[in-house]
Symmetry: C2
């Protein structure tokens, strides 16, 4: 019985952190640098503060690069190679989600309404 190798554990905890997976998926899907507002628009339930926070974390871990080029009108975020190589994993997860997750069953949407989770 392996002890679930720490590297994998780190990875899943990093990517699985609240909105990180969504942000990464959007960036991968876009396949180009995105601006703050574009990201915010792509994940509507995500607040500015959280988006900023997650972005900084992803930067710190070398998944995302922040372009604050002064010749550009605005800031843009793009994936690094490290971040980009997550694409297969994300794609697999997406495929799984398509097969198994139902939209019509918001039994787990925590970003939405204060569902009193009465499922005992």
């Amino acid at each position: 019985m392996e002890h679930c190798c720490p590297r994998y554990h780190q990875a899943v905890e990093l990517i699985g952190k609240r909105w990180s997976g969504a942000i990464l998926a959007v960036l991968i899907d876009a396949d180009r640098p995105l601006r703050f507002s574009e990201l915010a628009h792509a994940v509507p339930q995500l607040s500015d503060r959280l988006l900023s926070e997650r972005l900084k974390e992803l930067e710190a871990h070398g998944l995302v690069l922040r372009h604050c080029s002064d010749d550009s009108p605005r800031v843009a975020y793009e994936l690094t190679g490290k971040g980009r190589e997550l694409a297969p994993a994300i794609a697999e997860l997406k495929a799984w989600a398509q097969r198994w997750m139902r939209e019509g069953e918001p039994e787990f949407v925590h970003a939405a309404k204060p569902s009193p989770d009465a499922r005992d």
Copy 2:
């Protein structure tokens, strides 16, 4: 710009939840029903309460089956088909982690031990 399809979002939030990814990886890797204590041993930093909690969540979402068979000496947990089909995604993530994550850099281990590692 897609709005990062909700199904994928649900999936990443579910699997990424604190210890769920590790638990699933252990179950997939074991490829047989595991008992509570085996799971606890495989993920040492995880407390009983949390393991129980995560297990119940994974049950509720149909990823894990709990065998409380009275003919068996003890309780065992095994993956459902839904859970088992996560294997490719987990494998991809593991491969990525092997490529990019370093064990020697616990810059993000929040599960940490109470070691007063004051290195800020």
